[in-house]
């Protein structure tokens, strides 16, 4: 069964550094999403992406964040200047339509 994959599984970075989290969505999917879960808190929506543009974003998704689909397979989340509070598990998801979202295993980001 096709799965969403994410790399790396764990990323450690220093405050102020840029990080790029990578996702390979399921191949025939058209909608892409990023969520995050800070330790002990709920899974929170960050952004959705369709037809090469952002279709919806949350208040969390400020100018420090950006998403890109640089080729036909990858979907990336960039954080330009990381803060301590960006430490979280970041989940990528994809869906073939707007209905069922399939999640990847997550990237644990630790900002020191």
């Amino acid at each position: 069964e096709p799965e969403v994959t994410q790399t790396p599984s764990h990323q450690v970075t220093q405050m102020g550094q840029e990080v790029i989290l990578r996702c390979v969505p399921i191949s025939n999917h058209l909608y892409f999403y990023w969520y995050r879960q800070i330790l002990g808190q709920k899974v929170e929506f960050l952004v959705s992406f369709y037809n090469n543009e952002i279709s919806e974003k949350s208040e969390i998704f400020d100018d420090q964040f950006s998403v890109e689909r640089p080729d036909g397979s990858n979907f990336t989340l960039k954080i330009r200047s990381t803060k301590l509070e960006d430490s979280a598990m970041y989940f990528c998801a994809s869906s073939v339509s707007r209905y069922e979202q399939y999640f990847g295993p997550g990237t644990r980001l630790t900002v020191t």
């Binding site: 799965e3 969403v4 909608y31 999403y33 969520y35 808190q41 709920k42 899974v43 929170e44 929506f45 959705s48 369709y50 279709s55 919806e56 949350s58 989940f91 707007r98 209905y99 069922e100 979202q101 399939y102 999640f103 990847g104 295993p105 997550g106």
Partner: protein, 113 residues
């Protein structure tokens, strides 16, 4: 803004016991409802979903959920749990016209053999 509440943070039960996990949401419009499960060390997997029609939805692994619109609830049930049902369960809601899923806080279920 919509929100989702899961009443229990932790549930411990024995094999063969029945399971019911509560989920309530706060949004008055048309919604799509989901239950996801995360087994230890694995990613979120879709257990079942409700979009329209019969409010009693059957999912994988013997799980079912009932949508009660008047109560803004979507409770998950399983008549007889197994040790392999040990996992964290997440309720999620999406406005029918939107993209984002809003998650509840999750319920950790431990099934003792």
């Amino acid at each position: 803004a919509q929100s989702v509440s899961q009443h229990n943070h932790h549930v411990i039960l024995s094999e063969a016991a029945s399971l019911e996990l509560g989920c309530n949401y706060s949004y008055g419009g048309t919604v799509n409802l989901f239950w996801y499960v995360q087994y230890p060390g694995q990613h979120l997997q879709l257990l079942l979903k409700y979009f329209s029609g019969d409010p009693l939805v059957k999912g994988i692994k013997g799980f079912e959920a009932e949508f009660i619109k008047s109560k803004f609830s979507f409770n998950l049930r399983k008549p007889s749990v197994q040790w392999s049902d040990t996992a964290e369960y997440f309720c999620a809601v999406r406005r029918a016209a939107g993209n984002k899923l809003t998650f509840g806080g999750g319920t950790r279920v431990l099934v003792k053999p």
